[in-house]
């Protein structure tokens, strides 16, 4: 594995988006992973539609039938992949733009599909496996406990104590081998995470969190997706 890796340097990551006042982080995490997978499959980076997921994805968890993807009220990336697999794929952002509300009806047009899911899977808690899957398959969807993110401005977040309860969906796009930690007096490796709160939040929309001990549960819900190339019909 390379010591440092960042999918932004390889053209697989779209610009930072903003979910607004809507609990749709799960849809941004899903599109981010599929945008990367589609880039690897086709060589083209296409921004994909979160609104399609918000409006049309009501997929439920087979283990918990009352737990379903529900627009601004929340969702889960793996069930969103399942939706995308069943629906045939996702439209481009340009054809189905984000509105930040879930009060609209589903306007999915199958003829405009820009990316389709070939397969998806969950990655084990092992950080080396997470890094290997990141490098091989593209950006990964991850869940995180966002308690420290409300006040985050920059640097490598490495809280002494952070809950493992996951409440936010984000996109893992890379990792770094070392960033200086003045208190701990040593260099610390970190994950690079793309968030969906706009470029004015964090480090131009990105969050750095230290690697090594599943801080804020960042290693515990990781999923990867692969895409197939689809031409508009």
């Amino acid at each position: 594995l390379p010591e440092d890796f960042d999918w932004r340097d390889h053209g697989a990551v779209t610009g930072v988006k903003n979910q607004g006042s809507c609990g749709s982080c799960w849809s941004f995490s899903t599109t981010g992973a599929l945008e990367g997978a589609n880039f690897l499959a086709t060589g083209k980076l296409v921004s994909l539609s979160e609104q399609q997921l918000v409006d049309c994805d009501h997929e439920c968890d087979p283990d918990e039938p009352r737990s379903c993807d529900s627009g601004c009220n929340g969702g889960l990336m793996t069930t969103a992949y399942e939706y995308a697999l069943k629906a045939g794929g996702l439209e481009p952002e340009a054809d189905y733009p984000y509105s930040g509300t879930d009060r609209g009806t589903c306007k999915f047009d199958k003829s405009k599909i820009a990316a389709s899911v070939a397969n998806f899977s969950v990655v084990s808690l092992d950080e080396e496996q997470i890094a290997a899957n990141l490098v091989k398959h593209g950006p990964l969807s991850v869940g995180i406990n966002a308690v420290f993110m409300q006040t985050y401005i920059g640097g490598v977040s490495c809280p002494y104590i952070c809950g493992k309860h996951l409440d936010h969906g984000v996109l893992l796009v890379g990792y770094g081998s070392a960033a200086y930690s003045p208190i701990r007096l040593k260099d610390k490796p970190y994950w690079i995470i793309k968030n969906s709160w706009g470029e004015n939040w964090g480090e131009k929309g990105y969050y750095k969190i230290c690697r090594g001990r599943n801080v804020c549960g960042v290693d515990s819900m990781v999923s990867t997706v692969t895409a197939i190339h689809t031409k508009p019909q």
Binding site: Q19, D63, T151
Partner: protein, 116 residues
């Protein structure tokens, strides 16, 4: 021996605040930060009551940012666009990952080699 007169980062860590830190001072500082926050993020509230309430939430979040800074010293914590939201409002409006105990129903990714 030689004593440097130039302050360094190490020196900064040894400097202790000796000016007063009374509630009045804190209140003035909070008002100053809140005014900057409103300007920076273009925020306004429907009436004076809402403004007062949001100021109280903002003050509470300033204290929270200080706590986060102590718990998370390698990051920078402070005022963000979410500083006028309670943790519950923040959760409802800007989070949204559904609770999931396990991911057992999804395929497990095959183990990849990591030594080359």
């Amino acid at each position: 021996s030689f004593i440097s007169t130039t302050p360094t980062n190490d020196d900064d860590q040894l400097i202790r605040q000796v000016v007063s830190n009374t509630p009045e001072d804190n209140d003035l500082t909070s008002h100053h930060h809140f005014t900057n926050f409103l300007q920076k993020y273009g925020k306004s509230y429907k009436d004076a009551d809402e403004h007062a309430y949001r100021f109280s939430v903002f003050t509470s979040n300033l204290r929270r940012a200080k706590r986060h800074q102590k718990l998370d010293p390698s990051a920078i914590h402070g005022v963000t666009q979410f500083s006028d939201l309670t943790p519950n409002e923040f959760k409802i409006k800007h989070l949204g990952l559904r609770k999931k105990v396990t991911l057992s129903n999804a395929n497990q990714a095959p183990i990849l080699p990591t030594n080359d």
